[in-house]
């Protein structure tokens, strides 16, 4: 009989399905006669302790200190390589590649724009520490600590030269990626840079197929084009490039003075070695001056065009926000333009909010994206214009130098320099002499 009572209650529940919206009991807990005690809900395991993250931050500092020493003092490619592989295994494979400074850009951005978001200390540390090291020692983070850089550096077997203009043009992608990552993080819609991290799938040994394919293709390209992600996509690299120009110490190809033997000319697989320049030929100087003036005038035009372009993309950009997507879907359903519902529109209806409220929300987000998209476009226009201006400015160089912005501090060029061999010989001599004493 009681079974039928249960079934009867079940049919009743079918008739009044709206009752149980917030945990109201359709079936009151039974009063057991057999003395049965219901078990406590198993207490699920606690979250991993935050200690790990402090250990990570400390290890990052240690790695960077060691890297700075190996790159600037010891000048040994082999030692740098060993450290790089160790960092790849720890920060990459052991810690699953998360958190990393590249993704931490977004955490910092979200902190600035969302007052309710509390940034994890590890994310803040991972963002700031490499910046500080770059200001003092150049891009040592890229050279020996970054797991994404390391995995690409390790597969580079036959570097081909990328023409300077192509490299500079492709780098616009990285600026765009940085701008977009910051925009979407600021709007609280998504962490774009994390979502499209190409190598995290390898570090975790699982993940989305599309991203794994992206990672594999980047590594395949990386067999011939050194560090494609670092050079053409990495948003954190963009920041480090510019800080590295200001750094107090940096990689120098020669330990003493350049004798312009040109032996290091092809040493850099990343095209970061700049040859000495001569003064402008008289005729060309005038042309360059005119060109510079033209590009400087073009700069505001490019910024305005970029801003307008970004502004006109506002609808599409806003669609990256889940709230806007839901609003669009609900609008289509309510106006009868589509039949059926999606999970998102169903979920919205269970919240009991009115669709007008949702539309108002979406409009607010869209207008924010109009401003953000405009700024993003203007930023891209500014970078493109800046690149054109930079083309017409000639820095005077008297020796072969590692371009501080493009140099990943990998240490490959050191042994190409005959002066370096002299230094090593001397070192060995002093060591031997010390040994004899």
């Amino acid at each position: 009989m009681t079974r039928f009572a249960c079934i009867a209650m079940f049919t009743m529940a079918l008739l009044v399905p709206c009752l149980g919206a917030r945990g109201e009991m359709r079936f009151p807990p039974p009063e057991f006669e057999s003395g049965y005690q219901f078990p406590q809900t198993t207490h699920p395991p606690t979250a991993r302790s935050a200690l790990y993250e402090y250990v990570d931050a400390a290890l990052l500092v240690v790695t960077l200190l060691l890297a700075s020493h190996l790159i600037l003092r010891r000048r040994s490619r082999r030692a740098i390589f060993v450290l790089m592989i160790a960092a790849l295994f720890y920060f990459g494979f052991w810690r699953d590649g998360c958190i990393c400074p590249i993704g931490a850009i977004q955490n910092v951005t979200l902190t600035a724009f969302d007052s309710t978001y509390a940034i994890p200390l590890a994310a803040a540390a991972f963002f700031v520490i490499p910046l500080v090291f770059t200001l003092f020692c150049g891009r040592v983070f890229c050279g020996a600590a970054c797991p994404l850089g390391a995995i690409q550096d390790a597969v580079l077997i036959h570097p081909v030269r990328v023409p300077r203009w192509l490299e500079s043009g492709l780098r616009l992608l990285a600026y765009t990626y940085l701008g977009a990552g910051v925009l979407f993080a600021a709007m609280g819609s998504t962490f774009l840079i994390c979502r499209y991290d190409p190598f995290i799938g390898f570090f975790r040994m699982s993940g989305n197929w599309n991203i794994l394919i992206l990672g594999v293709s980047l590594l395949l390209i990386g067999l011939f084009v050194g560090r494609p992600y670092c050079r053409f996509l990495c948003p954190y690299g963009v920041i480090l490039r510019h800080l590295s120009r200001l750094s107090k110490r940096r990689v120098t190809i020669t330990p003493t003075e350049c004798i312009k033997c040109r032996l290091c000319e092809d040493a850099c697989p990343f095209g970061a070695i700049r040859e000495p320049t001569e003064d402008w030929p008289e005729g060309e100087y005038k042309i360059a001056k005119k060109r510079l003036a033209l590009f400087l005038m073009l700069l505001p035009v490019l910024i305005a065009a970029g801003g307008w372009g970004g502004y006109s993309l506002k609808e599409r950009l806003a669609r990256m926000h889940p709230r806007v997507r839901t609003a669009e879907r609900v609008f289509l359903e309510e106006t009868g333009q589509v039949t059926g519902t999606t999970n998102a529109s169903d979920a919205f209806r269970t919240t009991g909010q009115t669709s007008e409220f949702l539309y108002k929300d979406a409009t607010k987000i869209r207008s924010r994206f109009a401003v953000g998209g405009g700024l993003l476009g203007a930023f891209i226009g500014f970078v493109a214009g800046g690149k054109l201006v930079a083309l017409s400015v000639r820095r005077r160089r008297t020796e072969y130098e590692a371009d501080p912005a493009g140099c990943f501090a990998c240490g490959r060029c050191y042994t190409y320099c005959p002066k370096e061999h002299e230094r090593l010989k001397e070192n060995r001599g002093t060591l031997l002499a010390r040994g004899k004493q």
């Binding site: 079974r3 009572a5 249960c6 079934i7 209650m9 079940f10 529940a13 399905p17 149980g20 945990g23 079936f27 807990p29 057991f32 006669e33 049965y36 219901f38 809900t41 198993t42 699920p44 395991p45 606690t46 979250a47 991993r48 935050a50 993250e53 699953d96 998360c98 993704g103 931490a104 902190t111 600035a112 978001y117 509390a118 940034i119 200390l121 590890a122 994310a123 803040a124 540390a125 963002f127 700031v128 910046l131 200001l135 998504t190 994390c194 979502r195 995290i200 975790r204 699982s206 993940g207 200001l246 889940p322 839901t326 999606t342 999970n343 998102a344 979920a347 919205f348 919240t351 000639r394």
Partner: protein
């Protein structure tokens, strides 16, 4: 480009100034984030009252076997014989036969307590977080079955792949000190 001594010092001055500004900027970023930090790290968790049990948790997690699993809140369970979280709609019989079970991995164990009550227990290693039972339980039962991110499994990614795919925005960052949003806690015991 003509270069004289004055020009070089100006350039150097600008460089140094910019360098200092950048360092101060990095310091400010660090200081602000420390000030904002509430000394407690955050982890991802599902708000069970927002969850619609769409099934994305089982497929979108970066782990091969999702970090999300089902939890049974016994305190609010009805111990029904005809459990809509356990049995498929219109089951052939109210027993543990595989053809009657809703769970694709057979992770719910049904044990007899007393007439007409049955206890339902989640065999967690088998649960894949698909939420089929949750959907059934919430739709017609007390809603004692609900999904939670298990923090022994969760990698705590910076951007949770399931959160990005969640249609009801049920994922949120919660303090690591209280990493679960449990149903039925504080209910009549």
């Amino acid at each position: 480009m003509p270069s004289n001594k004055e020009d070089m010092t100006r350039r150097k001055f600008l460089r140094e100034g910019l360098w200092g500004t950048c360092l101060a900027g990095a310091g400010t970023a660090a200081g602000l984030s420390v000030a904002r930090n509430n000394q407690d790290n955050t982890v991802w968790q599902i708000d069970p009252y927002k969850c619609i049990a769409c099934g994305n948790c089982a497929t979108y997690c970066v782990l091969e076997h999702s970090a999300v699993k089902c939890i049974q809140a016994y305190a609010i369970c009805g111990y029904c014989d005809l459990c809509t979280g356990y049995l498929v709609p219109e089951p052939k019989a109210l027993d543990t036969g595989a053809e009657n079970e809703l769970c694709p991995t057979g992770a719910i164990k049904r044990t007899y307590v007393e007439d007409p009550y049955y206890e339902y227990t989640i065999d967690e290693p088998l649960c894949n977080g698909c939420g089929k039972c949750v959907k059934g339980c919430v739709a017609f039962g007390n809603g004692s079955l609900f999904l939670q991110v298990r923090h022994d499994r969760c990698l705590n990614c910076n951007e949770c792949a399931i959160a990005a795919a969640c249609p009801s925005q049920a994922y949120k960052r919660v303090p690591a000190g209280q990493p679960y949003l449990l149903k039925g806690v504080g209910a009549k015991e």
